[in-house]
């Protein structure tokens, strides 16, 4: 143990003490490293232990925290001695010993067996006298106790005075002691600093453990270098204006809520504000010599200005309320900081804590009392790099997500608008049935189309990438793993792009949102070619309102699953829709509809409900009509393709063949197909035209026929009479056989 070591050299140290205050160390003259070590050794048990609380606590197993060693245990004396040490150090009179001798000197104090002996050793009867005086004069209230030394004592210990544990409630008047350099009022009940303004040579003032509420009465002590006000009731740092030489300021264990009025202390090396009520750290400018700042056991949430402390080496922030590195980020800018503690803060619980700190503060040598090894540093940088990458990635992700969200919102808004327009249009249509049915989607579409288009092909080499996202103002295409999500009608155009075989093969789920089902129908043939493996279709907000619309899905190659979100798809409210889907798409032998497994009973039920429809449709449909319906279906698919990519004949041909096969579906269901409203209206127009022609044609025919019929009837009416007339003429002619013969002969001869 360290104390033991000290003890071993104690005898010599005692000698030194006896020699008076000749022992001096000039800290500046010591090499940096030595100094550190020296401090460690020397300070541990002694006064700076109060300032360097971390050391103290480490040695005492953190038992006392920042509090001073108050209990009258053997250690109490250390404070007294320490002050001496400090004094010697500060006085800078004479450099007499090396580090070792100094530490020995420090130890000497420990060696001094008891409080009384110190007093005797240092001041002999001084304290005793003062105690008497106090007792004496305390009764007479107006005046203060007056302290007087015997001249003998004065000459011996002329520069120091210790009034420890004297139950003083006020500062005694100290007369004739102008040369006093060290004054100790530890462990009294002093409430106000008074009566010491005459001690202008005072260097060291210890008021530890009193009841002082305000810093005052110090304005004349210009040479004061050490001011110890720990464990008092000070609420505010003030009245230090003239103490420009202050080197050590200890304010721990008070009730200070903010750091202020210290900016002029340009020589201050040590500032202890542990165990106060600080909520944050700032206003530290001007403390150009500050090397150590103790802020343990406060409620500090953030730290600022530390980068304005050019000499700061040690900063103790243990047991505060720091929860993120951002709130102490200024530490990273401090070049001098080499030792820092964060333990007992929320931040220290984080997994990223250590490497974040190390990464950001490369100048650090110790973190939470532990030396930082190179290995740790390397690790930290690696981890930090990874972290950084991850962060960037997640940032990117969240950015994309946000973008996606915005786009989807935008699409949704468009969709709503479109729906409203469509509703209005249909209402108008209903009201004014004479007007030609205007297509709201068409008009709306024309306003949408001028929106920017992105041109890049969807994914190229990024097959493994989970996200390839192309965001456009009014629609969104997203490939996430095996799912292709399309938002907004514009997204359907993505099917026109060149899909890599791999990506296209990977996609098994296609989800449509905010797209008119009729528009989807038109791209289904393309979907079939481009994404041959799509097995699961999802529809949401697609205006699926009729059972017949499901017919359109039958043309696909295969569907295993179908999900129709009730949102924006009124058809889902129908009792029969599932069965109709099962019935119409029975050739796919679907497995799931809206997430529910399809059972055999479902299949049977579907067949029971709609089987007759299929039967009627197939067996009773007159053949001419059957041909025209199937032909229509083929033509229609062909047309959807032609319309969108007429310039690529190869694909059209391929599709042509494909459609001629007309899939292996149940032929008795093939007649149940769906034509989008647009096409159907066109078809009706077409029909109207042709009908008109047929009507005219038939009209002409029938008119002709009725005319002929009329003539025929008239002829029929006339004919009997005509016949009779003919016969009569003939009879009259042939009545006289001879004359008739003559006539005939005459005719023959005439011909010749």
């Amino acid at each position: 143990m360290i104390p033991g070591k000290y003890r071993s050299v104690s005898g010599r140290a005692a000698n030194n003490v006896n020699c008076g205050l000749h022992l001096v160390i000039q800290p500046s003259s010591l090499p940096e490293k030595n100094k550190v070590e020296f401090k460690l050794n020397r300070d541990t048990p002694s006064f700076p232990g109060r300032l360097l609380q971390h050391d103290l606590e480490r040695n005492y197993s953190s038992r006392q925290g920042d509090g001073r060693v108050i209990s009258p245990s053997p250690r109490n004396k250390s404070s007294c001695i320490s002050s001496t040490t400090n004094l010697t150090e500060l006085c800078g009179l004479e450099m007499k010993t090396t580090t070792s001798s100094l530490s020995a000197f420090g130890d000497s104090s420990i060696q001094t067996p008891s409080k009384s002996r110190i007093r005797q050793g240092c001041h002999s009867a001084g304290p005793n006298i003062s105690g008497d005086h106090i007792n004496l004069v305390n009764s007479s209230m107006p005046s203060f106790p007056i302290l007087q030394h015997s001249s003998e004592e004065k000459s011996l210990y002329s520069d120091r005075l210790t009034l420890e544990r004297q139950k003083l409630t006020v500062c005694p008047i100290i007369d004739g002691e102008e040369h006093l350099r060290l004054l100790n009022f530890q462990h009294n009940f002093i409430t106000r600093i008074q009566n010491i303004s005459n001690l202008q040579r005072l260097i060291f003032l210890d008021l530890y453990d009193n009841q002082i509420e305000e810093i005052s009465g110090l304005s004349t002590l210009r040479s004061l270098r050490v001011l110890l006000l720990g464990k008092n009731r000070i609420k505010k740092i003030s009245n230090l204006e003239n103490l420009i030489n202050l080197d050590v300021l200890d304010l721990h264990g008070n009730q200070i809520t903010k750091i202020e009025n210290v900016n002029h202390l340009c020589d201050l090396r040590v500032l202890n504000l542990a165990r106060n009520l600080l909520s944050h750290v700032d206003n530290l400018t001007g403390l150009d010599s500050l090397t150590e700042l103790n802020l343990r056991h406060n409620q500090i949430a953030f730290v600022r200005d530390v980068d304005h402390l050019p000499s700061l080496q040690r900063l103790f922030l243990s047991f505060n309320n720091i929860s993120s590195f951002d709130s102490v980020s200024c530490l990273a800018d401090s070049t001098s900081l080499s030792d820092i503690t964060f333990d007992g803060n929320p931040i220290a619980q984080e997994s990223w804590y250590k490497h974040t700190v190390l990464q950001n503060m490369t100048q650090l040598r110790q973190l939470d009392m532990r030396r930082i090894t190179e290995e740790e540093r390397r690790m930290a940088s690696v981890v930090a790099k990874k972290e950084e990458e991850k962060k960037r990635e997640s940032q990117k992700q969240s950015l994309l997500k946000e973008k996606k969200r915005l786009t989807i919102n935008n699409v949704a808004r468009h969709w709503d608008l479109q729906q409203r327009v469509a509703n209005n249009a249909t209402n108008q249509d209903r009201k004014d049935s004479a007007s030609p049915p205007q297509d709201p989607c068409q008009t709306e579409g024309s306003t949408i189309s001028p929106f920017p288009e992105d041109t890049g092909a969807v994914d190229s080499g990024l097959t493994s990438a989970l996200q390839s996202l192309s965001v456009i103002d009014t629609h969104l295409v997203e490939v996430d793993g095996d799912t292709l999500s399309l938002y907004g009608s514009g997204a359907l155009e993505s099917l026109d792009r060149n899909w890599s075989v791999q990506t296209a093969g990977m996609i098994t789920t296609v989800s449509f949102t905010f797209i008119e089902f009729d528009e989807i129908v038109q791209v289904l043939p393309k979907l079939k070619i481009k994404l041959p493996n799509s097995l699961h279709l999802k529809f949401k907000e697609t205006n699926l309102a009729m059972l017949q619309q499901f017919n359109a899905l039958a043309q696909l190659r295969r569907i295993d699953q179908l999900t129709v979100d009730p949102q924006g798809n009124p058809v889902v409210n129908f009792t029969l829709w599932k069965y109709y889907v099962l019935f119409r798409l029975s050739h796919f032998s679907m497995q799931k509809i809206n997430g529910t497994e399809v059972t055999q009973n479902d299949m049977i039920m579907a067949e029971r409900l709609f089987g007759i429809l299929a039967h009627v449709a197939s067996s009773e449909l007159p053949q001419y009509h059957l041909i025209s319906i199937l032909g229509d279906a083929r033509k229609k698919q062909f047309r959807y393709l032609l319309e969108t990519k007429g310039k690529k004949p190869g694909i059209v041909n391929e599709e042509n063949n494909d459609s001629k096969r007309l899939v292996g579906e149940n032929t008795n269901r093939a007649t149940l197909n769906y034509t989008t409203r647009e096409f159907y209206n066109e078809k009706l127009e077409d029909i109207k035209e042709k009908k008109k022609f047929c009507k005219m044609y038939i009209e002409d025919l029938v008119k002709e026929a009725t005319e002929i019929n009329m003539k025929n009837e008239a002829l029929q009416k006339l004919w009997p009479q005509m016949f009779i007339e003919l016969v009569r003429d003939a009879v009259i002619e042939t009545r006289n056989k001879n004359s008739y013969m003559k006539l005939c002969l005459q005719q023959i001869t005439d011909q010749k």
């Binding site: 029975s586 009627v616 042709k690």
Partner: protein, 331 residues
Amino acid sequence: MLSPERLAQPDYEYLAQRHVLTYMEDAVYQLLENREDISQYGIARFFMDYFNSVCQGTHILFREFSFIQATPHNRASFLRAFWRCFRTVGKNGDLLTMREYHCLLQLLCPDFPLELTQKAARIVLMDDAMDCLMSFSDFLFAFQIQFYYSEFLDSVAAIYQDLLSGKNPNTVIVPTSSSGQYRQRPALGEAGVPEGVEASLFYQCLENLCDRHKYSCPPLALVKEILNGVQRLTFYGFLGTLSKHPGINQALGALPDKADLMQDPAMDEELERLLAQVPGLVPAVTATPELGCPPSRTPPRVGSPWRPLHHPRKVDTESDGSTEETDESET
């Protein structure tokens, strides 16, 4: 073809009135439409096919609405086709909404107008609560009246409106095409006046209408029978009774009687045959007990899974309670 009337009017008008022209036009249109395919199997055969299908009533399947409503025969055929195809839905006991019935109609006729379905639903539901569920038979009979006598009902609505407002409809009746006018319930300013119009006066007007009406009307005798039973009646009360009247149904001839509405043995047999070959279920079918028994002998209602799909309600094939109530209040 050789009815005596034929001689009373010019041929052309006769053909037009008998809708022969309609079918001829349509036949030519079909020929025109599919001339490549048809020429392959012969034009004569095509015409035979066509007129055969007209006779059988299958010519209206999946045709456009304008054609389906063009002739009474087409309308009756459509009604029959609808009944045949979706009888199973009714048999299952499902109560459906107007929209769902409309979807079923659209499966047979893609451009079937919603308005007609709505009107039919209104006959069943008697008020504007259009989201109510209806039984298949209720809807079907109401729809029959609405669809088959569509123009007639529009005129009746106009007459009714005129009677309500106190005008003498006998002066002139313009069948207003603006439907929906009569939808608004008459504002009963005087609380004492009972709802509806006087039956006898109403009948006179209808009689008058039927005489002049060029579209098909329900048999006047039956209308008289309906109207004789009551003092006053409302428009929907009248339609409701009309739709439930078995005589009218018979006269129309498209649908079987209400009692036999769910019976169609030929089709049931066909269905069982189809069920036996549900794709992918062939081995399983034998495993399920209710299908294991010979399908033709099993009465379809017993032992087969004819259960309501989602609404475990009482199968209400007889009539909709609400209509019944209103009827009683009328009588």
